[in-house]
Amino acid sequence: MSRQERPDDDGSRRISRRSYLAAVGASTTAFAAGCTGDGGTDTINVITWNDFAQDPVVNSVEENLDVNVEITTSTSSTEMFTRLNEGDDFDIAVPNNNLVPRFLSADLIEPVDMDVVSNYGDIYEKFRSFVDQQFTQDGDAFGVPIRWGWYGYAYNTDEVPDHDPSYRIMFEEDYVDTDLDSQIVMYDEAAKTMPVAALYLAEARDDPSYEEALTQDDRMTFTEQQIQDMRDLLIDQKPRLEGYISSDTTFIQEFQQGSFLVGHSGRNEIVRLQENQGVENVEFVVPQEGAMAWYETAVVASASDNVETAWEVVNEYISPGTGAELARAGKSPSCNPNVADELNETEQELYGRIDPQRIERFIPFKDIDPDVADAYNNAWEEVKS
């Protein structure tokens, strides 16, 4: 019945394009009026993850540079994008790498000042190549990788037997000899869950094009057909799910409660479980099909009055000293391997230097290709229906 319902054109109040533009103009002026600098010690406003707001991190930056750092914490890269896009007064944002092209397309960010970000040359070669692929324009890089980590899955070793790590455990009933109905959790986020479906399908159907869509370009270039296949796979998977989980802390709590047995997860969550909570019946594995890696990336807003100071702060985040504080705060390794020198032995084991050979295996998260963005978003909405 709803199929026939159509909004009544005449009844709706439309605003002419001219007044649209007038409105946009008015708000832009207002935003511009809001941005004024002040003298003395510069204050740098950063919108970023909670780890950056921890005292040891903030203090380390402020001790090494003559700045005040004001952190606004956020829990999503999209939110960071939206805030900057709406004209909020931030100098730095630290979204995940996959969102950086979006900042770039919307003309919100400055190219990296390589003279100021002197630690850039020290970060893993692999990450510099990611930057080249994903957000470099006319030879200018537009973001600096700060920390990174990778996703795989974790399972309860009391209940789930040893097995060859594979995403098949999430999608195939008889992959292991444990009843996993309603015992699996996935992320409540298309960007994390859809690639898992793609990697699984690449192997299961022996069709590398699913994986190539993740690796070949600076965006995920799935075809509509591929997106539909991923959607169908995830819809079929739903009876096996306990739920979609949106935060790491919930993952940890639910795991300890025994609410699920297998969960798509980031490595740092499991490090937290093992290190902080003393949980022993958990094993984190990287599936043979491949694993997605995130790296958060600092960008500096074009609207900033202190672009140079902002880059100094960014440089500080990948310096050995501050970088080590950040690694500790989030249990995640820095993109600059030299940071490991500041960590003790246990810390090094958990989030220290990683063999560059291993990094080769990881696929960075990417934003969706605009051509299929609507199909991709619709597919995810249907998965969640």
Partner: protein, 316 residues
């Protein structure tokens, strides 16, 4: 502070204004009219306008050119088989969310009605003191933050929730019904809006003349008949009003399904929030979905107000 003079003249102006009917109406009605026009009508009109433009998928900026694309996407291109009685169709995510929301809201409303009626009826028969205690016990959860109440059901439900743990302690379960999901959401919504129903029902039942009921009984009417012929008609405005206060917010609920669904139940409120500020970040698509929801609610209200006067709904 040469205030007295200015106060006096201000006062004189006000007195003058209030003494005339025309300006008196202006002074009293205008602020509300301005507020409603600027903060309710204008935003809804603007939202409708936004629903007819698109967002550039590359830059995420809004493209201010008229388009019906968002509305088409709401209803066209669905792939999930769905049947509504004998009618089968391919539902879009939006259609599924609408149907689910309306279904959940209907169940929650009926539950509220069935559960609140005996309590409301009992309350009309209580003595002063007992009434005061009861209304306190009802109002306290009512005034307690909505979020706290939704959260309390989060503790109750779930694989390791209070209900399943209690059952486990006596050797039963865990019971699937007490997992997070649709049943938990229905219970959460019923709990959240139950007091609205109760208070509205009570207000209409309170006007009930019990001597009429007794008389009917004396004349040999059965209990069912008394309820059907005397109590229900009297309580009808309360029943309809209360149902409205439960149904409409339940349709658009966000917190309850978000907290009690564990990401598996996509009601319309969640869908809209996701489109407005979630990863897809598509304001026009969120606007279109909102417009349709508002339209369906307006239609529902128009139907209801054909039968009940708004005045009778007052008090809640």
């Amino acid at each position: 502070m040469a205030a007295p003079d200015r106060d006096e003249s201000l006062r004189a102006t006000l007195v003058g204004a209030l003494s005339s009917d025309r300006t008196g109406l202006g002074v009293t009605a205008l602020p509300g009219a301005v507020w409603i026009a600027l903060l309710l009508l204008a935003p809804l009109a603007f939202m409708t306008a936004v629903s007819f433009v698109t967002r550039d998928p590359l830059t995420y900026q809004i493209v201010w050119e008229p388009s019906l694309e968002n509305y088409r996407d709401l209803f066209v291109g669905g792939t999930t088989e769905y049947s509504l009685g004998p009618v089968g169709f391919q539902a879009t995510a939006f259609e599924q969310a609408m149907l689910l929301s309306y279904a959940i809201a209907t169940v929650a409303t009926v539950l509220c009605l069935v559960l609140a009626f005996p309590l409301a009826y009992a309350m009309t028969r209580l003595g002063d003191r007992a009434f005061k205690v009861t209304i306190y016990l009802v109002l306290l959860p009512f005034f307690t933050m909505y979020l706290v109440r939704a959260y309390s059901w989060r503790l109750m439900f779930g694989g390791s929730g209070v209900l399943n743990q209690a059952l486990g302690a006596v050797g039963v379960g865990p019971v699937g019904l007490f997992e997070y999901g649709v049943p938990a959401i229905i219970v959460g919504l019923t709990h959240a809006y139950f007091p609205y129903m109760l208070i509205t029902l009570y207000a209409s039942l309170d006007g009930l003349d019990f001597s009429l009921v007794e008389a009917a009984r004396d004349l040999g009417a059965s209990r069912v008949d008394v309820v059907k012929d005397h109590i229900v008609p009297l309580a009808l405005p309360g029943i309809i009003g209360g149902s409205l206060f439960v149904f409409v917010p339940s349709v658009g609920a966000f917190i309850t399904p978000q907290i009690l669904g564990l990401g598996t139940v996509q009601m319309i409120g969640i869908l809209i929030e996701r489109r407005a500020i979630g990863a897809a970040s598509n304001a026009p698509a969120a606007g279109a979905a909102s417009v349709i929801v508002v339209l369906t609610i307006v239609v529902a209200l128009l139907v209801v107000f054909r039968y009940v006067d708004l005045d009778e709904l007052g008090g809640a």
